[in-house]
């Protein structure tokens, strides 16, 4: 192998010298031959011809010698390449179309690959990332639920599967100090959080268990980004104090610059959880839990152990009914966990882009086939001059590889733009967005597919041309022999139509899903609604009365603003990502297993009117439901139906959260509201006024109903709130319509990409049909002329060509339908409200494709019908 390489290199370097030597050697032989012939008495002329004859083809002998030496390989490569360059240069139209088509396919698929690869396939940027797992509680409906601190404490004590376990929640402190106050995103984490991830601060130290004790001195670890941005990279910041939400925190560490926090990518600082277990908080479902498996412990083994623990409660860890983990716990690798939402969409999109790439390849193959049909004469001459079959194939492959490389180069440019577009379109839950780039893997992918495309795209025409009888190419009137390449081209067009159908059906199904999704009744009126979260920051708000007063005054100020028809606060806002659930215990069903988990909304009176949530029975909450008055609760329609079938829920009594203290009374029933997204039904809900609720929320969502454009009210509302207290942060400003759209972001993302790929596929298929038909019309001009001369009408010819085109389309549609049915499996999780076999979609796509192909057939058909028999017949 090495020797061979050396010879190739030598051949490459000494190409000229070796060629000269060969010529010299053969000339010597010729001369001797001629001399002998002269001695035998031939004339000089005769002697020369005789010598040439004995050689049996001097050029062929030379070729064989070159081949024997391995020189030929390099030699031919240069020659083929140079020839290919000249050829592409001479046919700029063809080259442009082929290169653009390929670059679109390669670029789009590289862009998608560079998104899919880091998210789904590359391991997370942590040491032994496969050992990092995420653990969830299982809610009553079987979905994942946040972990309670109580469960965490129990696992910490009882589980043997983990090197480290950590729980965390979000934290958004306001940093004050010499510079402007700034709202920061952070996390409250238990002490071993960074040990679970396996990343330690580069400067300073990690959290200690002692930092995590309630009321320990405040400490914080900051990200490299925050360190650079706010502290200018000053190392002495470690050990100094900063002020966050009025409290002093000592900076104890700085995370490395490359640290990627996939659990909260925007977090810039961390503080110990310092969990306060008073007031029954230990059993609220509001923490996330991660764990690093002990080395040698597999995921399944850990799952088994968690199951055993969940099923066997011990007296030291008594569990309340709503956190009894009776359904067990869910454990998955962190990577699977953060990608589970986007995985189906990403895989489907990747599949779609590969389909599009395939269609692009088929198109270019078709172009090459059409061209090689035109080049039959050229190939015939080359064969006659001694070119072997393999040599011809290699020539064609060189050309297609050159095309692919050009397409690939341009494709990298397309991929660059594609990635920017992708990031702009990406749904918020897309993890590791920052890792999306054209890295080594993406480059290797692009290079790989480019080479593969070059070979595949070139191989079909190459085999075609060398298979057909090339001597025919030299014969006059060869154009009359349509031959096998037309068959191949037709088959390719059928394939194109079929592939385009698969893509278009998928896009159609997604489109219908989105329509259906937006037709879902959210349970409230989303138009003219502006929403935002108003937070309180500072120790004055430790007092519940102060907090209530601030929100009351803010609400009053907002209501006074012009253009506002109503406003209210709620502890959690539908479609915003909020999810606050509590155990509900009914007086009529005292058994703990009868308890339910329900969404709990602490709202100001007027919330229902502002949101437009219809009242079904009883009354709404009003200004009389204040602290001290009997506690009034509203429950949702489905909850009432399920809990009190056939009986009146009004007057029923219940507890929410801890099962203690005075009972709450159900005073009314309201319509179900979509909380997580339009696609998810989670209808069990309870509503209570903020002042009657046991906890004073420090952050509340404001909903404002406007007379006109809701978004335009933003500055006015913000100023109204700040007129009460200008230091309180306002975040998450969005109209309810934006939230609606965002809640379907993942489907929209998939839809936009599928639509884009589908449209490209449609255009490519149309050009494919057009190309084949117009090629066939050109080749059959004579035949058409004869038909016309024999009395066929123009209409006959028109329908002849149309029929030919539509037969191809029809065949493609039939094959494509099978493919589309199979492919619809892949997007089934993205569908909503439509069957994957939705007949309307299938029919619609067939009509669309047929319509487009009629248009594509029309031009060649019309051209055929205008053939003048007297001209065509005379021409040959």
């Amino acid at each position: 192998m090495f020797g061979r390489l050396k010879r190739w290199l030598r051949a490459l370097v000494r190409r000229g010298a070796m060629e000269r030597e060969l010529n010299e050697e053969l000339r010597y032989h010729m001369d001797r031959e001629i001399e002998q012939n002269l001695r035998d008495g031939m004339s000089p002329e005769e002697a020369r011809y005789a010598a040439l004859r004995t050689f049996g083809g001097l050029e062929q002998a030379r070729e064989e010698c070159r081949e024997a030496r391995g020189v030929r390989f390099i030699e031919d490569l240069w020659q083929d390449l140079w020839y290919a360059v000249r050829l592409l240069w001479k046919k700029p139209g063809f080259t442009l179309v082929a290169v653009l088509t390929l670059s679109l396919g390669i670029g789009a698929s590289t862009a998608i690959f560079s998104a899919v690869n880091p998210i789904l396939f590359e391991s997370l940027p942590y040491p032994h990332a496969g050992q990092v797992t995420m653990i969830w509680d299982i809610g009553p409906d079987g979905s994942r639920a946040d972990i309670t601190y109580g469960t965490y404490r129990e696992l910490l004590e009882r589980s043997r599967s983990f090197d480290a376990l950590a729980v965390m929640g979000s934290w958004q402190p306001t940093m004050t100090g010499p510079a402007e106050p700034e709202r920061l995103n952070g996390q409250r984490v238990s002490a071993s959080y960074f040990r679970v991830l396996g990343i330690a601060p580069t400067i300073g130290r990690d959290f200690d268990p002692s930092d995590d004790l309630l009321n320990s001195p405040g400490v914080t670890i900051i990200s490299d980004g925050l360190w650079q941005r706010r502290f200018g990279g000053d190392r002495t910041i470690v050990g100094r104090q900063i002020t966050l939400d009025d409290d002093a925190y000592t900076v104890i560490g700085i995370m490395p610059s490359g640290f990627e926090n996939v659990l909260a990518s925007s977090a810039e600082l961390w503080r110990p959880l310092q969990y306060d277990m008073s007031q029954g908080r230990a059993w609220g479902h509001h923490l996330h839990m991660v764990g690093r498996l002990r080395s040698g412990v597999g995921i399944d083994q850990a799952r088994g152990e968690l199951d055993t623990i969940a099923r066997a409660p011990v007296p030291e860890f008594t569990r309340p009914p709503w956190a009894a983990i009776e359904k067990g716990l869910t454990l998955n690798s962190l990577q699977d966990d953060i990608t589970r939402g986007v995985k189906p969409a990403l895989l489907a999109i990747f599949g779609a882009v590969m389909l599009m790439l395939l269609i692009a390849c088929v198109n270019v193959t078709n172009l090459l086939l059409a061209r090689s049909a035109q080049r039959r004469g050229e190939f015939a001459i080359r064969v006659a001059l001694g070119a072997g079959r393999t040599r011809l194939i290699r020539q064609l492959l060189t050309e297609s590889l050159l095309l692919a490389v050009l397409g690939g180069a341009l494709g990298m440019l397309v991929a660059g733009y594609g990635i920017s577009a992708l990031m702009a379109l990406s749904p918020p839950e897309l993890p590791r967005v920052n890792a999306i780039e054209i890295d080594g893997a993406a480059f290797a992918f692009a290079l790989g597919i480019t080479t593969l495309i070059g070979l595949i795209v070139g191989l079909i025409p190459a085999l075609q041309s060398s298979r057909s009888d090339l001597h025919g190419g030299l014969q006059q009137g060869s154009q009359r022999i349509a031959g096998g390449h037309q068959l191949t081209r037709r088959m390719l067009v059928v394939a194109q139509v079929a592939l385009a159908l698969v893509l278009l059906v998928s896009a159609g199904l997604l489109l219908r899903s989105l329509e259906r999704l937006f037709a879902v009744d959210a349970g409230f009126d989303a138009s003219h609604l502006l929403t935002m979260q108003v937070q309180t920051s500072g120790h004055r708000f430790d007092d519940a009365a102060t907090t209530h007063r601030f929100f009351e005054q803010a609400l009053e100020a907002v209501r006074q603003s012009p253009g506002v028809t109503g406003a209210a606060f709620t502890s959690q806002l539908p479609l915003s990502g909020d999810l606050d659930e509590y155990g509900v215990h009914f007086e009529s069903n005292p058994a703990p297993e009868e308890d339910h988990t329900a969404l709990l909304y602490a709202v100001t009176p007027g919330y229902f009117e502002v949101m437009g949530i219809p009242l079904r029975r009883g009354r709404l909450l009003d200004a009389h439901d204040v602290a001290g008055a009997p506690v009034a609760v509203l429950i949702s329609e489905s909850f009432a139906k399920r809990k009190f079938p056939g009986t009146d829920p009004i007057g029923q009594r219940l507890h929410i959260g801890p099962n203690e203290g005075p009972w709450y009374t159900v005073v009314g029933v309201v319509a179900d509201v979509k909380q997580t997204s339009l696609a998810v039904s989670r209808p069990d809900a309870a509503y209570i006024t903020t002042t009657q609720w046991r906890f004073a929320n420090k952050a509340m969502s404001l909903v404002v109903r406007s007379r006109g454009d809701a978004a335009a009210l933003t500055p006015l509302i913000r100023n109204a709130i700040w007129s009460v207290d200008k230091n309180q942060p306002i975040v998450r400003i969005a109209t309810m319509e934006d939230l609606l759209k965002a809640s379907a972001a993942e489907r929209r993302f998939a839809l936009i990409l599928f639509e884009a790929f589908g449209i490209v596929a449609l255009v490519l298929a149309a050009t494919g049909i057009y190309g084949v038909l117009s090629g066939s019309v050109t080749e059959r001009t004579r035949e058409i002329g004869v038909r016309l001369a024999l009395g066929a009408s123009r209409g006959n010819i028109l329908s002849l060509v149309l029929r030919q085109g539509m037969t191809l389309t029809g065949l493609g549609v039939v094959i494509g339908l099978t493919g589309a049915v199979a492919a619809s499996h892949a997007i089934v999780t993205l569908l909503f409200g439509v069957s994957r076999l939705d007949p309307v979609t299938y029919l619609g796509v067939i009509v669309l494709l047929s319509g487009v192909s009629v248009v594509a057939c029309w031009l060649p058909a019309w051209r055929a019908a205008r053939v003048d028999p007297s001209i065509t017949l005379r021409a040959e």
Binding site: R7, E21, E24, E25, L26, Y28, H29, D31, R32, E33, T54, F55, G56, G57, L58, Q60, A61, E64, C65, E67, A68, R69, G70
Partner: protein, 110 residues
């Protein structure tokens, strides 16, 4: 008067070339003449077959080439056997003898 000429079997040419070069270096023209001469003009080889064969042998390292003066004072390319070539010749000769022996035996006795 023309003698009946026999085409060389595939692969036989290389064996003959190796055998001819055992006794010393020769150029292409000489090799061709020798084959005809030694075989009593029964075997003939065309340059179109000979030169590619020479180049193949050289490529495989069985023969080596160098430029030198020919009989009529011209520069010509001379081939000579390498050590590997010598071994190859012995091996191929044995194969050949086994083969022809077997064929002869069948022709005689069958």
């Amino acid at each position: 008067m023309k003698k009946q000429k026999t085409d060389l079997l595939q692969g036989t040419l290389e064996l003959l070339v190796l055998r001819l070069l055992r006794s010393g270096s020769l150029n292409g023209w000489d090799i061709m003449q020798r084959i005809q001469l030694v075989s009593g003009e029964v075997l003939s080889v065309t340059p179109g077959a000979l030169y590619p064969a020479l180049h193949r042998l050289e490529e495989r390292g069985l023969i080596a080439a160098e430029w030198g003066e020919s009989a009529n004072n011209r520069q010509a390319k001379f081939y000579k056997l390498t050590a590997a070539g010598r071994k190859q010749l012995e091996a191929e000769r044995q194969t050949w003898e086994r083969f022809t022996g077997a064929v002869e035996a069948i022709l005689r006795d069958a």
